[in-house]
């Protein structure tokens, strides 16, 4: 179930679009925030709130890789391993995350604190390696720096 506030937010978003299916993408973001990821409950909630058939909501949601399709940790670490980052040691950092925090690619720590997503270039080749934690951007990464950063996210 979506919270009352979320439903209100959804209705407001709905008003900005000519029809309900056009409002699906932002609505799915709200549902993802509320449910943690897009599963059956989230799709059903969006479908009920917008009046878009459930199968259609799920079809749209699963098309986009940047929605979360399974339960994830409280914070999402998105590490770039494209060419520049790789050359400057991103793969070692990935190993570090695994050894230190038990974070496998696509996995979640047992305490549900972090999930790791290996992502494509985030345009920080000049200051590689780089990563995102939730919506925050970090560059010139080292193992020590990563430890400091992750301390900020509980």
């Amino acid at each position: 179930m979506l919270s009352k506030a979320a439903i209100k937010e959804l209705n407001e978003i709905r008003q900005k679009y000519p029809d309900a299916s056009a409002a699906l993408l932002p609505a799915l973001y709200i549902a993802q925030r509320e449910f943690g990821y897009l599963g059956a409950d989230a799709y059903e909630a969006v479908s009920d709130a917008l009046g878009v058939p459930r199968a259609i909501a799920r079809g749209v949601g699963t098309f986009y890789a940047m929605y979360k399709h399974k339960p994830m940790g409280r914070h999402i670490v998105q590490l770039c391993t494209n060419v520049s980052c790789m050359i400057l040691g991103a793969e070692k950092l990935s190993d570090f995350l695994k050894n230190k925090y038990g974070l496998e690619t696509g996995g979640t720590t047992p305490d549900k604190r972090f999930s790791l997503v290996i992502m494509e270039c985030i345009g920080a080749c000049g200051t590689a390696p780089a990563m995102l934690v939730d919506d925050d951007f970090y560059e010139n990464l080292t193992e020590k720096y990563i430890e400091e950063i992750l301390e900020k996210y509980k």
Partner: protein, 890 residues
């Protein structure tokens, strides 16, 4: 005029169409996979690429529009190479498991690869592996075979309007799934199966049981379920129906089917079918109804299919000769002893026009009584005659496809998408074409089609309708075209305050609704059975007629039986003769007396409800029931059962040993819809041909009755259904001069060549019923589910798998107040009975309503529902059945 040259052939076109359509119009076939004539163009598969002169690249014929002077080549070395390349890509992940694929032989991919190649693939990697999904009881999905043409998705969303499946994920991972990922939660129309070009979406009903080329016969006939009258293609092998498919271009359903039509055919081959006449050996007792009840719900046959169990306790087998002479003798004796009025007959909206015509002729000529009626009396018959009395005969005979061209459809009294699904699709199409959908009440099947809804408090619809008439008559000018109706309209008046306070409808919503309604230029009004069965039905029908008159609309009366209209037109009613001519007209009585060479009873007969009462009080001594199950299909069915037990001689002619059949003195096995020829008249009053597809063990209903009539010394000489039809068309002024040949050529459209009854309209009679107040009580209402029709559907295994058991539906608030959880078994009780069944919480319901279907043996709504008779329409009124729900087992 546009002239294009395709493959050297000059084609002249009136208006611009796609290259593909132009080619098809000239008989040139361009290969396609994603294109389908029932769907929007898509341009996804690229198989229809053709060469167009002066164009630098190949173009997709399915999306490219023709232009004057265009020169197109559809089969060149280049197009063949391209097509082979595309097919090679499609085969990368295709399992090539044709030997075990039911589609092989009618697979579009197989045929195309056969034509263009490749003979060998170059792909060295592993193929995508997806396990076949057998989670659903009806539909198998095999996503390895899927080529992502999305025809199923476009069918489901754009035509059926169910939007139950979609493409999930993307790229190489894309696949088609219902929301759950496994079992479907959909309308089970199976139209996705129709359009799938490969073996990716298939029916489980006939899985691995035949090859398409092994089909021995294909018969075009009409669906036995609802009043829409869809064309079915019945495919037969070894005298068994293997599959039912639609035909693109057929008049009513044009390539579409609903779940009942497509998957409901298996009752024909049911082991429960009656095979020989049965004569009662067990005594009929009034006492011990309870113990009898248990036999009623037992399966009549042993599992092995041999006759035994209940049947051998109640009946012995008899020969046709014995049974027929017994029936003739007993009926003659009763007629002799008690007189004609002591005999009554119930006709069948499932039987053909020919069957029903012979039935009423038999009752009138051989037994001398007008005591003929049917379950059409429970709603349809009275509503139709009420409306026809205002607007003239044929007022409800409107073409179903006209709904999609309306700019507004106003729906009341039933969800068209479940009662008459293919008609429901036309309403959805109306919405898609930009039309407005207005509903009085919540109808789930129209929920995604932006309906403007007014949902009045239960049993206050009449005030809302009065409110609508009040506003409309001030907005529209009365023209005096129908002075009788206008006189009534002038008296109708209510205030917006009443609409607000009693119906609990917001003034803003009401005004918006009325603005849309009054501005419509081409509106249609669809009336369901719940209105016809409501308290004050005649007044509501008057109000709806008034609305129809004021907005100049077309009326549609939903009909849940295949030949409900035909049975009335054949005169199977206590007050009408064939051709819908009143018995009270001396002229029409004389006409039939001379044609049938027999004197006819002049007195109007008993309605079906009056028959039940007469049986109860002992004045009715014999009853002949053809293809109907009154113990099940009439409200207060326990009373009906007791009444029928009271009848001295009961004949039941049916395809199954129904609840009614178990009470009979003689049971006569009839042929089912698929086993006989004849005609049905659908709700548009279109007459269509039923054709025999398989052999059965019984006899046609008309043949059995004719045999009995002959045994009684009457001249009933017919050798086939066509003979009877010819007599109908000789006798009935409405069906004048019609022949089977005319019908096959499309001449079955109302008013045929006939003479609808124009004169003799009576004054408009209305019954002003006292309004029921609903304070705090719960009321039982009938759920009319898409998947069931009753006696037939519960013997169709596929439909039972989809909707396996009776449930009671309550609103979320009711559930909360009574602290019931979804699926919990509860006891539902009314004044006349109680049953236990699981709860389903239904968001579309109001807090006064409790919904129950009348489709499951022993747990049917009619066992709990009492009724009144609406004095004008003489239909059963089902409103006001208070109901209590409590935890089961307490």
């Amino acid at each position: 005029m546009i002239t294009v040259t395709i493959d050297g052939k000059e084609i002249k076109l009136e208006k611009p169409v796609t290259v593909l359509e132009a080619a098809r119009s000239a008989g040139i076939k361009i290969p396609t996979l994603c294109w389908h004539e029932q769907l929007e163009r898509y341009g996804g598969c690229r198989l229809c690429l053709v060469e167009i002169e002066k164009m630098p690249r190949l173009q997709t014929a399915c999306t490219f529009m023709v232009a004057d002077g265009m020169v197109v080549r559809t089969e060149t070395e280049q197009t063949a190479n391209v097509r082979r390349g595309i097919l090679e890509f499609l085969l990368i992940n295709h399992p090539l498991d044709c030997p075990v694929c039911d589609k092989a032989g009618e697979c579009e991919l197989q045929n195309l690869v056969g034509k263009y190649g490749p003979a060998k693939g170059r792909y060295k990697e592993k193929k995508r592996k997806v396990p076949e999904s057998l989670e659903d009881p009806i539909i198998v999905r095999n996503m390895e075979r899927c080529i992502m043409c999305t025809r199923c998705v476009r069918m489901c969303e754009g035509v059926q309007g169910a939007s139950a499946i979609d493409v999930i994920s993307r790229g190489g991972h894309s696949h088609i799934e219902p929301f759950s990922g496994g079992k479907y939660d959909c309308e089970y129309c199976g139209n996705c199966i129709s359009v799938c070009p490969v073996g990716a979406i298939m029916s489980r009903l006939h899985r691995h049981s035949f090859r398409p080329w092994q089909m021995e016969n294909e018969i075009e006939t009409i669906c036995p379920y609802c009043g829409v009258g869809c064309t079915l293609i019945v495919q037969v092998r070894d005298d068994v129906i293997k599959r039912v498919v639609p035909r693109i271009g057929s008049v009513v359903n044009n390539g579409l089917l609903c779940t009942r039509g497509r998957f409901g055919y298996e009752f024909v081959g049911s082991k429960e079918r009656l095979t020989t006449p049965l004569v009662r050996i067990a005594p009929k007792t009034q006492s011990g109804v309870g113990s009898q009840e248990s036999t009623l719900s037992q399966p009549p046959f042993d599992k092995g299919g041999s006759q035994g169990g209940v049947i051998s306790e109640l009946f012995r087998e008899a020969t046709w000769e014995e049974a027929i002479s017994l029936v003739a003798k007993k009926l003659s004796e009763i007629k002799e002893e008690y007189g004609n009025p002591a005999i009554a007959g119930i006709a069948s909206p499932r039987c053909t026009n020919e069957d029903n015509y012979i039935f009423q002729k038999f009752m009138r000529v051989a037994l001398g009584t007008n005591n003929i009626d049917s379950t059409a009396r429970t709603g349809f018959a009275g509503a139709q005659s009420f409306i026809e009395n205002i607007f003239g005969q044929g007022a409800t005979a409107n073409i179903i496809s006209g709904l999609s061209n309306s700019d507004l459809v106003f729906v009341i009294g039933g969800d068209p998408t479940t009662v008459n699904p293919i008609l429901g699709l036309q309403i959805r199409a109306c919405s898609r074409n930009g039309g407005n959908i207005l509903t009085i009440g919540n109808f789930k099947g129209l929920e995604y089609f932006s309906p403007q809804k007014l949902v009045p408090v239960l049993y206050t619809e009449d005030i809302l309708l009065e409110g609508i008439v009040t506003v409309l008559k001030n907005k529209k000018r009365l023209s005096d075209a129908n002075s009788k109706l206008e006189a009534k309209i002038k008296d109708i008046s209510t205030s917006i305050e009443d609409v607000k306070n009693i119906c609990k409808i917001e003034e803003k919503d009401f005004n918006e609704f009325l603005n849309i309604l009054s501005e419509s230029t081409n509106p249609s009004i669809v009336i369901g059975k719940e209105t016809a069965q409501s308290n004050g039905a005649s007044y509501k029908l008057l109000l709806l007629s008034a609305i129809n008159y004021l907005i100049n609309g077309r009326l549609y009366l939903l009909s849940d039986r295949a030949n409900e209209q035909g049975l009335l037109d054949m005169g199977c009613a206590p007050d009408i003769l064939p051709g819908y001519r009143p018995v009270s007209y001396v002229e029409s009585k004389r006409r039939y007396e001379s044609i049938w060479e027999s004197e006819l009873p002049g007195k109007t007969g008993l309605t079906i409800f009056e028959m039940v009462n007469a049986a109860k009080n002992g004045s009715l001594k014999a009853m002949y029931v053809m293809g109907e199950n009154p113990v099940y299909n009439l409200p207060d069915s326990k009373t009906v059962e007791a009444a029928l037990r009271n009848i001295e001689f009961l004949v039941v002619q049916d395809i199954f040993l129904t609840e009614t059949g178990k009470l009979a003195d003689v049971v006569l096995p009839a042929l089912s819809w698929a086993e006989k020829d004849g005609t049905f008249t659908n709700m548009e009053r279109r007459i269509q041909r039923l054709r025999k597809a398989v052999n059965g063990n019984g006899m046609e209903d008309w043949r059995i009755i004719s045999e009995i009539a002959r045994n009684m010394g009457k001249k009933f000489d017919y050798s086939n259904a066509e003979d009877i039809f010819n007599e109908i068309c000789k006798a009935s002024p409405l069906h004048k001069d019609l022949t089977y040949e005319d019908i096959e050529k499309g001449g079955g459209i109302y008013p045929y060549k006939g003479e609808p009854l124009r004169d003799g309209m009576e004054e408009i009679q209305v019954h002003n019923a006292e309004r029921l107040s609903v304070n705090g009580k719960l009321y039982l209402r009938i759920e009319r589910p898409l998947f069931h029709s009753g006696t037939l559907s519960r013997r169709a295994p596929a439909l039972v798998k989809i909707y396996p058991e009776a449930v009671v539906r309550i609103s979320p608030d009711t559930a909360k107040a009574l602290s019931f959880k979804e699926g919990e078994v509860v006891r539902v009780s009314t004044k006349i009975g109680s049953i236990e069944l699981p709860v389903v919480i239904d968001k579309a319901l109001d807090n006064f309503s409790v919904m129950l279907t009348n489709n499951f043996e022993g747990k049917s709504a009619y066992r709990l529902m009492g009724y009144d008779i609406e004095p004008v329409t003489r239909a059963s009124v089902l409103d006001g059945n208070t109901v209590a729900i409590e935890k089961a087992g307490l």
